[in-house]
Amino acid sequence: MTQRSVIDAFAKLRPLLDESLRNWAVDGVVEKDASSSDAIVVRANNGTQLAIRRAPEDDRPARWSVSVREKDGRCSEFMSTSILGLMMEVRMMLDAMPAQVRPLRIGSASARQ
């Protein structure tokens, strides 16, 4: 993983996470990790904190690594293989899941009959 691709990935991820917090009605901020240039931090006002990094190439197919410090102080870590997976995990960690997650259904017939 080159430094350039890490910067590119975060350039897209950060505004997406920013907007996601608003969308999920989570009070918090998304910012660059002060201690390391290869992570961004999601800090929720309820005390949950997530540090998101690109997963090392040795860990493929994982692409993202997330360290979590939950509001009760517990720490954990998880890996995600895609942006979609990452978004779902982050939302779950922030306690902002919708009442019902709707799966995409694929109709067997075309809409144009």
């Binding site: 996601s20 919708p98 709707r102 799966p103 694929i106 109709g107 017939a109």
Partner: protein
Amino acid sequence: MTSKPVPVTILTGFLGSGKTTLLARLLKTWMFGRAAVIINEFGEVGLDHDLVESGNENILELSNGCLCCRAQSDLSKTLANLLAKRNAGEIDFERIVIETSGLVDPVPVLQMIATDRAINERCAVDRVITTVDAVNISRTVDQYGEARSQIAFADLLLLTKTDLVAASDVDAVKRRLAGLNEFATVTIAADWDGSWAGHQSTASEKSKLTAFETEAGHDHRFTSISILRDRPLSATAVLLFLEGLVAHEGDKLLRVKGLVQLAEDPERPMVLHCVQQMIHQPVWLDTWPSDDKRTRIVLIGHGLSERWPSLLLDALEDEIAELMRERQSSERVLPTPRAGAA
């Protein structure tokens, strides 16, 4: 001598219920083949006129607005303009079809045509056709007054997507519709040949208008978001985008439609139809309907985030591009199999 009023057919139905599909089919029938068409879409980027593919030059688009709110002005002007051009011999048509956006309450449209003297002397509504999505009807009718109004004012209710539900469900839908409008004829859309035989007209049902008009109203919570892309999208990114959209915005999402330029086949646009949480099997057009080959995706819902869908699509595109680059570079470093090797 007073000339016969031009018949006007109002084609309505909730988001994604199959109006444009039906219109494309109707314009190939003898009865609608010589019709002028006014298409109203909700959203800044109009797509439906590109999807009708009729070869009919009398198709006009009224984009970015709810027809019911602008009926007195835009529609009235458009109708007057059409009739003036017909009188002047510039265009020719025997009927006018107004395809409303899926969020339109038809009452103000009917009222305008019935009460605007400059219009009603020269044209008259003969039928209101409402398409009804057999899959989503229950939730739609429960939640949206526009959908109830569209059904209540129909002369002909055309059931679409009946192939996606069980026969017993179709019967249940028919019972539900009868409860909302006992006067309308209910027919399976795929079976309807475009003729009026056996279907009653609006003229005998005008009393319904006054009875219902105070109850009907337009809900302004709806938002429309347009996504434009100059570069082709990968099919995987599009599918993941829809998956993410439904997972995170599913409760707010009513409709996704689009013309998509896929990297895998950029000369053939993919027509995207998604209604609530269901994506319909995509259709590929043989060619682009115009010189504009940009991807255009329109999302309609209530309370949708304006920026989030576009940011998600950007992030997914980048991720897929990165995966492709990694795959290509790993293929480059794989040793070439030796001839004769086991």
